[in-house]
Symmetry: C2
Subunit: 252 residues, 2 copies
């Protein structure tokens, strides 16, 4: 596959919307994505097949459902990198911001294009507070954690972001382990900064960021609310944040 073919996969507004939505790291059904992007199910089906063929998405069939998710962290990184390049990417709420007047019946103006399970405003404020960004933490929670690991010297930003010896010890104490090849050239970097859409500041990505998020979910420090990417910090989570990172209750 050539560079042009790869880019062409992302060059369609509908497919781009799919990928952006899937950046939350979860598996969506074909129908959900179709409603989200405001296209017919048949259209969505074709787009998904192309994205899967191209290796950007992975599918998992369950009964009459077709679940689909990003093929891996590299894909998420790629899409983030591309998105970071768009000077004024979309509206503040994260909607991709479709070009007006492409095809009749596709303007997202009247009514929310795809009501999900939480009411729109509730969902947005919940996501601004805490959410997943592919496989790590984002929103105010994300940048708060990012600031904390930096302030406590677990991560340094000298010569590019990296985990310190202190950070490695901290992980060991925590009982969490990085994948063996993390950080090796070609493999996933240990620490990556990822621009946060809502906060307009960096939060923590990479293998370390993913490990933190997974640990937090495993130990029930955070839990999913609704069907989207929004998270809630549990009481256990608040305690862990305070004890492990010196983070206060968390800004509401």
């Amino acid at each position: 596959m050539s560079l042009a073919r790869l880019a062409a996969l992302l060059a369609d507004p509908t497919r781009a919307a799919f990928c952006t939505a899937l950046l939350d790291g979860r598996a969506w059904t074909a129908g959900e994505l179709a409603r989200h992007a405001g296209v017919a199910p048949s259209t969505a089906s074709e787009h998904l097949s192309r994205l899967i063929d191209g290796g950007l998405l992975a599918e998992e069939r369950q009964g009459r459902h077709r679940y689909v998710r990003l093929a891996g962290p590299e894909v998420a990184t790629l899409i983030e990198d591309l998105s970071a390049f768009t000077p004024l990417s979309g509206t503040p709420d994260g909607t991709p911001g479709r070009t007006p007047g492409r095809t009749p019946g596709r303007t997202p103006a009247a009514g929310s294009p795809a009501p999900r399970s939480l009411r729109e405003s509730t969902r947005l404020s919940a996501e601004a507070r805490a959410r997943t960004c592919y496989d790590h933490l984002a929103g105010r929670l994300g940048v708060t954690v990012g600031d904390a690991v930096l302030a406590r010297g677990l991560v340094t930003e000298e010569d590019g972001p990296a985990l310190t010896a202190l950070g490695r010890a901290w992980l060991t104490d925590l009982g969490a382990e990085l994948p063996p090849r993390a950080g090796r050239p070609g493999a996933r970097p240990v620490v990556r900064t990822c621009l946060d859409w809502t906060e307009r500041r960096n939060h923590l990505g990479g293998a370390f960021g993913a490990l933190l998020c997974r640990t937090a979910l495993d130990r029930n420090w955070v839990e999913r609310i609704g069907s989207g990417r929004a998270l809630r910090v549990t009481p256990d989570g608040e305690r862990a944040l305070r004890e492990l990172l010196g983070v206060e209750p968390l800004p509401a």
Copy 2:
């Protein structure tokens, strides 16, 4: 600009070919690019305008020439990242590998599509030996230098590639200076590994890689040959390589 619009800029084989060619870090004229891609000058002109509007390319007009180059290192990184994603990108010689039979008269089969100043085979072997990759060194020279800085401990790959204290001292001795903001989040990383097309191994990119390349050109350790990206190591350069990095004369 949305993600889709950005991707659309790279989604055309001709525009992709332009960007790939410009990855050598030099400024090309519109006509050179047109011949290189095998399209009419008028077609190239339109493509260039779109790429410039999109912020991927920068132009510099000189007399009746329109020189054009990548807008910055971020663009080069972006294109490299995307290229790294294509499993079997192009033919071994680095030609983008156009999809066959798109439009009559565009098949690159018969004859070299755009003879540049060196004969094709000469050019290819020269480029395999030493060339620029955007603004840093590539080819056998590039990976050799990359290996050397790693072996001498100037760069480490623990927790992601980074310059060591030894490396900083080495730079100071050399009288070379990194840009002040290099490595800060959002700015250009100090050390980046970049997959070498010909060697299929990593060479040195990032601000450090660019600094080395610029220094080498400034001090006449390497010089351009031909009008392409190929480089030749000068006698001064061989001496510098030996004394500064312990690299032997350089594989022919």
